[in-house]
């Protein structure tokens, strides 16, 4: 629903500001131009996006994801000590993390949901501290190669579509750290 309000708000505000600034005549053309550029953008990034989803599928089929997941287990045992006692939850969470890192959004979500369902058993609809951590982890981006983004940048003529990678890694790393820190801090006094 949020998006419906946002869209309606934008269109109504445009009319309002258009009347105010005398740009009202340009609005109709602008709306059509926007729709046209959406299709142009999709076409321009189509090749890059498809190439990368192809590579991601290849990574998944040759079990690179599983190897990555194995690397996370020690770390997850410290972050989620209670849930990690259940080996199946631990497996789902680590697979969720590694799919996120490789940018396999379609694979990551079902794995994360499986972990969340196991972690929420018998809690009566109240998120446990560890479940909060898992969801906070998933709301932050852990993707190593933001391939759709690179596709957009390539389609707009970027000199090197991946040259922002160090910045992306730094920003995502600090953002994840801040999210986990905030969750740990809030857990101390947020009872329900």
């Amino acid at each position: 629903m949020a998006m419906s309000y946002l869209w309606t708000g934008m269109v109504v505000l445009s009319l309002f500001f258009g009347a105010l600034t005398g740009n009202l005549g340009a609005l109709g053309a602008a709306a059509l131009k926007g729709a046209e550029s959406a299709v142009e953008l999709c076409f321009a990034m189509c090749g890059a996006v498809c190439l990368w989803t192809g590579v991601m599928e290849l990574m998944e089929r040759c079990a690179l994801t599983d190897r990555l997941a194995a690397l996370f287990r020690p770390l997850l045992r410290r972050l989620l000590p209670r849930s990690s006692r259940d080996s199946e939850t631990l497996a789902a969470v680590s697979a969720n993390l590694s799919a996120n890192l490789l940018g396999l959004g379609n694979a990551a979500t079902p794995l994360g949901i499986r972990a969340a369902r196991r972690m929420s058993r018998g809690c009566g609809g109240r998120a446990s501290d560890e479940l909060c951590l898992l969801v906070v982890l998933n709301t932050a981006s852990l993707q190593l190669l933001p391939t759709t983004l690179a596709g957009v940048r390539a389609s707009l003529g970027a000199a090197d579509p991946f040259d922002i990678l160090p910045c992306v890694w730094l920003a995502s790393f600090l953002s994840v750290a801040a999210g986990l820190f905030a969750a740990k801090l809030l857990a101390r006094f947020w009872r329900d």
């Binding site: 946002l6 949901i113 730094l170 801040a178």
Partner: protein, 173 residues
């Protein structure tokens, strides 16, 4: 030639060799995955059309400028360019919406400009917070989400601050 321009060909070669050694049908996996890419695009195209027409109207009417002017003082103090203000609102709500707004910012200000790069880093460094929370808790039957959303928004705020700083620090522009 830079390191990051070598990263892509090296990655492609590494994954292909690794998969071939494990007896995976490399070509079939690539083409099947590429087909999935088409469905991804098919899913984002309708929302791109809806959102970009609204964004273009918003810009043509002068509302975008007014919004930017409204937030410039506060954002300038935080070191965030005011031109990226629309992203701050839409990034936690909608993934394809953020993609539409972000790519429009990159196109308008130049993809290799400071603002274009900051917008790109903001897009690449976060997930759609509210969507993720809704999907996970919906599936797990959780109604009391406790501090999940405040903590996740805290992560988003840090991400926006760091994005603007990181482009200055690491790319010098």
């Amino acid at each position: 030639m830079t390191l990051s321009s070598l990263a892509v060909p090296l990655l492609l070669a590494f994954v292909a060799c690794y998969a071939a050694r494990r007896k995976v049908d490399v070509y079939a996996a690539l083409t099947h995955g590429a087909e999935e890419g088409l469905t991804v695009l098919l899913h984002i195209l309708p929302s791109l059309v809806a959102l970009l027409s609204a964004v273009y109207m918003f810009r043509a009417s002068g509302a975008m400028e007014a919004l930017g002017a409204l937030f410039t003082p506060a954002l300038a103090r935080l070191g965030i360019p005011a031109e990226t203000a629309p992203l701050l609102f839409i990034r936690p709500i909608s993934g394809s919406g953020a993609l539409a707004v972000g790519s429009e910012i990159m196109r308008f200000h130049g993809v290799d400009s400071y603002i274009g790069r900051v917008a790109a880093v903001m897009l690449g460094s976060s997930e759609t917070t509210f969507y993720t929370v809704a999907v996970y808790y919906g599936a797990a039957g959780i109604t009391k989400t406790r501090y999940t959303i405040p903590a996740a928004l805290c992560a988003d705020a840090v991400m926006f601050l760091v994005s603007a700083k990181a482009v200055t620090l690491l790319m010098g522009a």
